[in-house]
Symmetry: C2
Subunit: 214 residues, 2 copies
C-alpha cells in the first residue's frame, strides 16, 4: 500500500493515524504542497489522483482520495481493529464528529484559502490569524458540545478505544496549537488529545516524525 | 422520522434527496437560519443537536447531525435502494466524490463564511462573488476530473443508479447556478445534473418545493 502524503497535511495526518491504529504497513510517497506551485497539481500526481488533492491511497486499483473515504475503505477491507463502532447509531455519531472537523472546520484553514486571503483579498497577518481562530473555535466548540452532552464519550471520543473521530480530532488540535488558539474552553477535547498522544499510533503519525518533515 | 431542515441549506437538501431516493417518509421540521440570529443556535434546537448545525435527523434515539453521517445511517438501517455501491472500491469512490463537495467545496460558500467576509473583512459584493466562484469552480473542476477519468461514471456519478455522490452534486449545482457560475467547463456534471433533475426524488427535494420556501 502506498500513501501519498505531506507531513503537515491535516488530512494525510488523519490517514497516517488510521493506518497505524490498524497496524497496517505502508510506503509513504511525499508530495510537496509548496514546491513547484504545488506538486499535487502537477501531471505526475494528477495521474494518480485527478482531483489534485492530498492524500491518496494506492491499494492496487484506482487510487482513493479523500481522507475519510480512505479510512472507511481501510476499515471495510481490513476489519481487524475497527475504527467505527459496531452499531449504526454509534457509527453515525463517530462520522458526525469526524465531519465536524473534516467538513466544518478544517477546510476554512486550508493553505489555499489562507493564500487567497492574503494574496487576493490583501488581509493582514492579524486578520488571517483572527480568521483561523474564528473557524477553529467554532468547530471545536461544536465538537466539545457533542462530547460533553453524550454519555458515549469515553477515554476517547467514542468509548474507550480510538475511532475515526480521534483520527480527525488530533490533527485539528495540532493546527490549533500551531496557531496559538486557547484550548481551555474545550476540556473534553484537551483530555482526549492527551490520551491519544500517549499512544504510539498517534506519536508515529505526527508531522515531525515524517520522512518529509522540515 | 423527523428531519430538521431549512429549504436552502445545501446539506439538508442532500438528505432530502436521499430520503426520497430510498422512499422513506419523514416529517420536516423547519429551522430558520436567518431568523432570531439563527434558530439553529437557539437553546430549543441546541437541545436536539448540541453542535448547532443543520440538518439533524431524529430517528428515536439521539439526533444525528452531519448530512453524510445521516445518509450513511439511513443506508445502513434501511438497506433497500442502497445509495452506496456493493464493492469497497466503489464505496470509496462514491464517498470521495461526496466529500469533494461536502468538505472541499461547500464549506467555503456557507452563509456564516459569507457573513464574515462582508461583515468583518469588509469585502465588496464583487469580491464575495469572486470568492464563491473561486471555490465552486475549484471543487467542480476536481469533481469533473474524477468523473471524466473513470469508467465507472455512468448515467449518474457512479453507474446507472443515483448514489450519495449525486445527493451531494445536485445541491452544489443549485448553488452554482444561484450565483451564476459558468458550468460549461464541466460537461459530465451538467449531463448528470440533467439526468437527476428528471427524477421525482430530486424534484421533490428542491428548495422551491419545501414547506418553508420563501
Amino acid at each position: 500500500m502506498k500513501l501519498y502524503t505531506y507531513f503537515r497535511s491535516s488530512a494525510a495526518y488523519r490517514v497516517r493515524i488510521a493506518l497505524n491504529l490498524k497496524g497496517l504497513a505502508y510506503d509513504a510517497v511525499p508530495v510537496h504542497l509548496l514546491r513547484d506551485g504545488g506538486e499535487q497539481l502537477q501531471p505526475a500526481y494528477r495521474a494518480v489522483n485527478p482531483a489534485g488533492l492530498l492524500p491518496a491511497l494506492d491499494d492496487g486499483g484506482a487510487a482513493i482520495g479523500q481522507s475519510l473515504a480512505i479510512i472507511e475503505y481501510l476499515d471495510e477491507t481490513r476489519p481487524d481493529l475497527p475504527l467505527l463502532p459496531a452499531d449504526a447509531a454509534g457509527r453515525a455519531r463517530v462520522r458526525a464528529l469526524a465531519l465536524t472537523i473534516a467538513a466544518d472546520t478544517h477546510p476554512l484553514g486550508n493553505l489555499r484559502v489562507l493564500k487567497y486571503l492574503t494574496g487576493v483579498l490583501n488581509v493582514t497577518e492579524e486578520q488571517k490569524l483572527a480568521w483561523l481562530h474564528q473557524w477553529m473555535s467554532a468547530g471545536l466548540a461544536s465538537f466539545e458540545q457533542l462530547l460533553a452532552t453524550d454519555t458515549r464519550t469515553g477515554r476517547y471520543c467514542h468509548g474507550d478505544t480510538p475511532t475515526l473521530a480521534d483520527c480527525c480530532l488530533v490533527p485539528q488540535v495540532f493546527n490549533a496549537q500551531r496557531f496559538q488558539l486557547d484550548l481551555s474552553p474545550y476540556p473534553n477535547i484537551v483530555r482526549i488529545h492527551t490520551a491519544c498522544a500517549e499512544l504510539p499510533a498517534f506519536q508515529q503519525a505526527h508531522p515531525a516524525q515524517q520522512p518529509d518533515a522540515e
